[in-house]
């Protein structure tokens, strides 16, 4: 037994690194496959939704703040990256990402300052309300955002002379950023900050009694989650080189929300697994069956009733049962 533990501790990081390498190089090793390019695109979209879901899990899973308007920051990041690139005539990736983070974090700060005063269902509704207002602004401010026609002509980013123009290069970029976000989420979970957030979810009153400024804590989580969502949005803008009002809409927010719940809130990979499942059913299945939405709904129902901890919880439970 004691011999197995150092093996286990060594094995896990190695497996993680290998898995990461496999992911990032997906387009390369899958190229012989006929639909490789298309699959790369789908996987890229899944990773982007995964980033959004991970950022939302910070709120829903860790801090117990169910936000149903998270796409507002995702879309804000997308618009920011697109508009900054165009207005400043620059392809620089860091500029685009920087603009995305700044704008989405600021938006989250402004909205969060108001929203975190509420909790539970009221928080849910407030975040939804604010997101709808952001949607309305994006729709109306046609001169800046392109309005209902969307923002076209987003530039493909460059970084230090590396051109992320091609679909493969873009996928590498998205995969790397995704892994960075995953790493960040992992470190957060074991950090004091992360545990404070979980404490918020478990018992806010006690946290306050322990001396934490819970409002500050909630707001910081909200802003952080918003900033990460903004990064995801920027990546999406670069991916399809277009931003539409759908990207700040209710549907996108709900997509992220259900991904988190299906995959397993407050687990590390749960939101990502959820994002993969949800996107697969929403975007890949309809090419083959006419009732994909029904399938999606049934999946939700079945999971709530049978697998409360989400897919990750299900896997853990069956793993435990097998080992026992």
């Amino acid at each position: 037994m004691s011999g197995a533990t150092p093996m286990r501790r060594f094995a896990l990081p190695v497996v993680a690194v290998v898995a990461a390498a496999v992911l990032v190089t997906f387009p390369i090793w899958s190229s012989p496959w006929e639909s490789s390019r298309y699959a790369t695109g789908i996987l890229r979209d899944m990773l982007i939704l995964g980033i959004l879901a991970l950022s939302l899990d910070l709120l829903v899973g860790s801090a117990g703040m169910p936000s149903l308007g998270h796409a507002a920051y995702f879309g804000a990041g997308a618009y920011a990256a697109a508009i900054a690139g165009q207005r400043l005539g620059s392809d620089d990736l860091l500029l685009g990402l920087g603009a995305a983070i700044l704008v989405s974090a600021f938006l989250a700060l402004v909205i969060g300052a108001v929203a975190v005063r509420a909790a539970g269902i009221f928080f849910l509704m407030l975040t939804l309300a604010f997101a709808q207002m952001v949607f309305a602004i994006a729709f109306q401010a046609a001169d800046i955002t392109g309005g209902s026609n969307g923002f076209s002509g987003v530039r493909r980013p460059m970084l230090f002379g590396l051109d992320f123009n091609g679909p493969d290069a873009l996928f590498h970029l998205v995969a790397v950023v995704f892994l960075l976000v995953l790493l960040l989420a992992w470190r957060l979970r074991s950090s004091a900050y992360g545990r404070a957030l979980i404490g918020l979810r478990e018992n806010e009153r006690r946290m306050r009694a322990l001396g934490y400024d819970t409002t500050r804590l909630k707001l910081s989580a909200f802003v952080l989650a918003g900033a990460i969502a903004g990064v995801g949005g920027a990546l999406q803008a670069y991916s399809i080189r277009f931003v539409s009002t759908n990207d700040v809409g209710v549907a996108r927010s709900v997509e992220a929300f259900v991904s988190v719940l299906i995959g397993g809130a407050s687990t590390l990979v749960g939101p990502v697994v959820g994002a993969i499942v949800v996107l697969f059913i929403e975007r890949v299945m309809p090419s083959y069956i006419a009732f994909a939405e029904t399938v999606l709904g049934l999946v939700f129902i079945v999971f709530v009733l049978a697998a409360r901890q989400g897919i990750v919880g299900l896997v853990r439970a069956s793993y435990a049962r097998v080992r026992a």
Binding site: S152, I240, R241, T245, N246
Partner: protein, 366 residues
Amino acid sequence: MLLPFTKVYAELGNSMQRATKLYLKQKGDALANRPVTVIYEDEANDPVVGAQKTQKFIDSDRVDLMMGIVATPIAYAVRNAIDAAKLIFIETNAGGNALTRTTTDCKPSCKSKYIFRSSFSSYQISYPIGEYFATQKGVKEVFTFVADYGFGNESAADFTSGFTKGGGKITGSLKAPLGSADFLPFVTQLKGQQTKDIYSFFSGTDAINYIKAWTQLGMTASGYKMNGAGFLTEQDVLKEVGDQANGATTSLFWAVTLDNAENKAFVDAYQKEYSLLPDVFAVQAWDGMQAVDLALQAVKGDTSNKDAFIAALENVKFKSPRGDFEFDKETHNPIQDIYIREVKVQSGQAVNTIVGKVARVTDPGK
């Protein structure tokens, strides 16, 4: 074919699919001696989904040709990908002007040599009627009331230019958010206007709710006249409002009552196959298919030479249910007659009858 099969524009997608299937059925599922397979995908009213499905067509299905797209933002979103992939695309609905024009920085979009349109540009259904009202119909003043989004705003702007160019005066405007639940407050405002001629752009549920509110407040009885771009009173709307839209004057490049041989054959065949009256969306898809068919025949079925196929498409000329159809070689937008139509009830069904025509309207291209 990329069409909406879910969400609010699903009906248009279904209509176009019916027309496409009927055309192919009539031709034995082969064009220019080549068997044709159509892959249908759902655009779901979301540019991200549209972009992904377009990539599927390009990368996975490796289609020879792409058609469809109902929503303008989706067309704008995929324009660059289609152009870069050198995929020949026939737009069968989205009327955003920019798609077939030269614009600065290609914003919000611009034409491409690979992109053709078998439907219309919103200019074509809004500008001519403006000029017609001022010059032919002797209308002096008009008030505009449109849906507040790309299409509605373009239509109002183009109508305004046409109308003012002809000497008319726009006395004011009102906009309703897209998908407004309640049209009564807006029509109440209209009723307070002196100007009796109202020009509108709405489609689908908005058009139905607008017409119902119009009737509820007795606008026609009070002397107000409803005018608009054709979609306000297309068959999808008329089948629900019946005679409530009687007398509405709209402009479009087709009407189900259009009296030519091709239209009669088309309407009869469609009705026989589906027990439904066709709508303009079906015509757009039908004409798109016919253009492809003729171009394919011209290149003897060889789709590998894209430039030759493009040249063939540019040269197609045929008699369509809407009249004479050809693409403008500059913009790849159709050159077509725009009919001024009036809603009447014939044989128990509300239809658009032709009362005027503006011949051979070409989109200005910039």
